[in-house]
Every structure is written in C-alpha cells, then in structure tokens.
Symmetry: C2
Subunit: 336 residues, 2 copies
DNA sequence: CGGCAGGATTGGCACGTTGCAACTCTGCGT
DNA sequence: ACGCAGAGTTGCAACGTGCCAATCCTGCCG
C-alpha cells in the first residue's frame, strides 16, 4: 500500500532511476526533474523501503548491541557510549537484552545475523567466542566487552577488574579494616576478578587470608543487596565484618539501605565500597565510595573498535589495553 | 558472502523452491528431499535473509516501542509488558528511546516507517497523533500510552493520573498535613494531571487553596529530587512544607535522600508520597508511600490493543477505559 | 497396459531498490 | 552542416525470498 519509487516516478513523469538518483546522487539531477521528484515525494509521502535497500546493498549499515542485563545502570552508560559513536559514524544501532538468559542471548545473535547487521558489540553471559568467530567467517564482525580467550577475528575491550578490586582492598586495609565481606556473583567472571583483586591486596598486606568472607548473590541487584544487608544486620557485633566490598553499586546500595534501616552506622560500624561508580552511588543517604568504571568511554571504545574493523577490514585487531580502574572515595568509607 | 537459498539448493541437489518449501511449508516435502535440505542448511550455516523476506512479504512481523525516557524505571516495567505480549504473539519488537527530545522522537518514527513495522506503541513527548494518523493511512497502526485527542485511527491506553493525584492528596490531608509541596514537570501532561488531582482533594476538603506549593523540575530524575530536597532542607521550620507529593518515585527518592542527609525526619517532619510504585520505592531507607501505576499491565494492554487491531483490522478501536490508581501506604507517610 | 490421481518438485515472476551501461538532447567548435 | 562533448535521463539486471501455476513421477486401478 505505501508508495514506491515507481509511484513517485509515475507521478513526477520521470523514470524510477531518476527518482533513485534524486535520493542517492542528487548532484547528477537537472533542476526541473529534481523539482518534480521533490513535489511527487512530498505529495505521496514516499519513504524508501529499508528492506529493499538492504537487500540490494547486501547488508544494512547497522550495528547491534547485546547486553547482559539492560536494567542495570552501568549498562545504560555503556550503551550510551556505543550509541553515540554509532550515530556519529552514521550507523543505526539495534539494542537487545539477554536478560541473563543464555537462550535469549543466542536468539538475539541469530536474529541479528538474519537481519544482516554488519557488526555486533556484546557484553556476554556465556562463552560466545566460537559463535562470533563463525559470524566473522560470514562477514559479521564483533567486539566483546570483557575478557575473552585469544581470537584471531573477535576483538575485545577490557577493563581492569582485578586492579579495581585491589584498589578497593588497599583502601579498606589502609583504613584499618580487617574483616572484609565480598558480595558478588560467582557466575560472572568480572565479579570473580574483582574478588581476586581484593585477595591480591590482602596478600600484599601480609594479612590473614581468612579475613575475607565471600557472600554469593544471584543477580547483583539492589534487592539482593537488601537481603545481604539483612543477614549482616542480624549478626552479632563480634561476627559482623567491619567492611563490605560489593561487586557493583546496585548491590552496594541495597546493603547500605538495609544497614541504615537497622541503625548500623556507615562507615563507623561498617565501611562500604561499591563498583562501577554509577550515578546512584552519589545519590544515596551516605554517598558511596566506589571503583569507577568508565562505562561511557568503554562503550565508545567498543563501538569505535568495531567501526574501525568494518571500515578497514585489513587492519589488525586493536590491542586490548585495559581501561584502568580509579577509586572514588566518598563518605561510605571515610565519613564526613 | 553468506549462503542463500540458491546455495543450499545447489548443495542439496534440489531446486530453490524446495528449499523455500522446507522452510515455510515443511509438510509438502518428501522425506528424502527434506533430509538433503536439512543437511545442506546445517553444512552451510544458512540463515534466511530477513530483508529479502520482508521485501517479499511487504512488511515485517514486527512492532516498535518508542519511549520518552527509557532510563526511568517506570518505563522498564512498561516495556516488559509490551515485550512479553509481543513475544507471546510471535512478533519481534524494536525498542527506541526518544531521550526527551522531539527531533529524536520524530526520527524514530521515520525510521520505523522506513523499516515497515506493522505497528507502534509510543509513550510520546509531544503531540504525535497527526503523524500517527498519517501512518495509519499507510497501514501502520499505533497505540499511544497516555491521553490523546479523539482519533478515528489511533488507539490509546489510559491511566487515571488525576485520580491517583487525588488519592495522594486525600491521604496527606487525612494525616493532618496542611502545607503540601508538589514536585513535577509542567511540560509533561501526566504530571499536570497528578497535580490537578491533588487540587481536587484539597478543594473537596474545603481547605485553603494556597496550601499547595508547586515546584517545577526539568526531568523528574533523582538528581532533580536531590536539588529540591536541598532547597527544602534550607527552609526555616516555619516555611517548610509538612508534606511533599512528587510526580514520580525517582524524584521522590532524591528528595527523601536529601532530607535524610540533613537530618530532617520522614515522615515526622515531612511526609512524602511518590508516584508509580516502582521497585525503588521500597528499596529506600524509609520505604516510600506511592501511587501504584501498573506499568507492566499497561504495557501489556497497549501491546494487546495493537495486536488486536493488526489481527482484525475491521475491529473498532478499543474503548479507552483507564487503569485505576491505587495508593500503597508505606513508612514515608505513616512511620513505623 | 493405458490412464489417471495425487503427491512431490520445479520454473518463473514479483517485491522495491540501486548501479551500470546505454541512450537522448542541447550547444558549441570546426 | 556535421560531429562531438557532456550533462541529463532511462532501461535493465540483480539482490534473496515466497508463492503460484505448471510439471514430473510413482503407483494403482480398470
């Protein structure tokens, strides 16, 4: 039912090639034809059919972004970075959310392959590198945010999670804290790296290795943090840790909220460090010390790396120099 | 470079029609051909080209969702509702975010028209009904979430914002509060309706009309709430309102946080009511009384209304019976 | 053994767009 | 007056898919 080039051409009294030229090579058009085509397009409200364009072109000038869990604030920042760099380069960007489900993740990859996007930025749940290498054979390049096994065709953008964990640990130790609880998710490699960094700090300080108490939660959400906070609040003073390092800010916010509800003082009774430094970290009653992960910049870097590969397929994969962690100290560790 | 039906057909030793039949009408295939085609598809890793499919079909089995500001938690709930109902009906769903920018909103609509989606669910920024009616002429139906002028072709799903505002007002008045500050955004009609509901409650109680103090903020974010909270905290006891009604939960969370930082007691000194009842409302140090807006159900209703129109184009537009508001009372108004 | 029913398979076209090669036309130089 | 340059325009093919009508084949009945 919508108008096609043919309809426009008929109304304008020119051939469809001329209409196509008007859209894609305006400079070759004569003045009078251009005017006729312009009027006809306006009159019919013609909008080029993107599917036909893509079919003709062989692929769409589009990228895809697949996120582990789009509702976490950190992923907002990441996606804005990818989005901006895509828009600047004139690419369209399709989003999708794996919702922490491996089937959904695979389904999203399949869908984007069917839509012939040219490249994919993915923050993966499971090991997707073999699948991505398969896609690379078929001309779809990709960039993984996070650590991956070495690959000849799949690039990655790294953040120094372990170093960030170490910064958090050193900070807490320097404050004299000696019983540190780590709240994280063993199923996400980044969480484990952050824990390893904490262990590094403890080892370097020559402190007792049993000072770390690991608490595993399913999703790193505020809700999970509230549960953990309740458990900690119920502990006796003797068994309660004097510091908590949370694997992300959202779970830290939950812990903080629950501790405050129970009248436990932060940082006097328990010091608290989060991770990511999202906006929420300084929007809490006691502003949160956090390890800054530059989500926006990481997103930009991932998008830029992808676009570079697509623009110049002969270029080498960019060397994965990790983004450095930075500790942002606020009142949840040092008071006012 | 990727394989096409032709490649599959050549490898399987059958015609491309047979391959097409295998994919779309498996029952007409013979046993042996089916097996050959299956093997060839597997061997080549063939994935049908979605663009070509859509071109052939005339339109994609896809819907679009355009949100005013995807980062607000309320919109997560809304989008999950639309997403679920779309998936259940076998439709793909494309997301996009207007980011509170009218140009972006228009650009998104244009993009989805070019991609020939069959329908659009939109939570609009500006008045988009004329544009949507134009789309309806070209076969793209749409459903607006929120109030719209009467239209023959554009459906809407309504929520009783005014009634919700009234509930909040009645609640605060019944608690004996007499100086109510309203925090909202004049540029969003829903915010104004909520304020009007508050005024209704005050009028009905025969109370002084100057008891309402309207504070306008730009975006209804937590950051805006922090600013407002700071202003309120600096007021003298005499001029400080004894109740605050915020147009959404995020701004309420900001206000609450700032008040608590300044040692102002909630609800003893200032009672606080939010709007939407998102998850964050019960994840605060003092859980937030809020007017529940069933975002998930509203999203489902919008998606279902759209799919109904597409499935049966002769059906009348569904009557827009508004979703009712419900007050969820928590400690930010009644204490413990 | 001829014919025919009906299942299985195929050729060809159309969807809307774009790029290329080919064509027309105007005006200018010789 | 003739040719030619070059700007402007056009016809045609092709992208990958899906559907329709047409064809092929197998086996069975008379």
């Amino acid at each position: 039912m919508p108008a096609s080039v043919k309809d426009v051409a008929a109304l304008a009294g020119v051939s469809s090639s001329t209409v196509s030229n008007y859209l894609n090579h305006p400079h070759v058009l004569g003045e009078s034809s251009a005017a006729k085509v312009r009027d006809a397009i306006a009159q019919l409200g013609y909008v080029p059919n993107e599917s036909a364009r893509q079919l003709r072109a062989g692929s769409s000038k589009a990228l895809a972004l697949i996120l582990l869990d789009a509702w976490l604030p950190y992923f907002h920042e990441l996606s804005r970075g990818v989005e901006d760099v895509a828009r600047e380069g004139g690419w369209s960007l399709f989003f999708s959310n794996s919702n922490r489900d491996a089937d959904t993740e695979r389904g999203n990859i399949d869908m984007f392959e069917a839509h012939r996007v040219q490249g994919i930025v993915i923050y993966p749940l499971e090991d997707v590198v073999p699948r991505l290498e398969q896609l690379a054979d078929r001309g779809i390049r990709s960039v993984v945010v996070g650590p991956i096994p070495p690959s000849a065709t799949v690039a990655s953008v790294l953040f120094d999670d372990r170093g960030g964990g170490r910064l958090a640990g050193e900070h807490l130790l320097s404050l004299g804290r000696r019983r540190i609880a780590f709240v994280g998710t063993a199923s996400v490699s980044q969480s484990n790296d952050r824990l390893q960094g904490l262990r590094d700090a403890v080892d370097a300080a020559d402190a007792a290795t049993d000072m770390i108490d690991v608490i595993d939660v399913p999703h790193l959400t505020t809700e999970d943090g509230l549960d953990v906070g309740a458990r900690i609040a119920e502990m006796s003073d003797a068994e309660r840790p004097d510091a908590i390092f949370a694997a992300n800010d959202m779970v830290a916010v939950g812990v903080l909220t629950q501790l405050l509800r129970h009248g436990i003082r932060v940082p006097e009774d328990v010091a608290l460090v989060g991770f990511d430094d999202v906006a929420q970290a300084h929007q809490t009653v006691v502003p949160l010390t956090s390890v800054r992960q530059p989500g926006y910049e990481i997103g930009r870097a991932a998008g830029a790396a992808l676009i570079r590969q697509l623009t110049d397929p002969t270029a080498d994969l960019p060397a994965p120099t990790p983004f450095a962690a930075e500790l942002i100290v606020r009142e949840s560790t040092v008071g006012r």
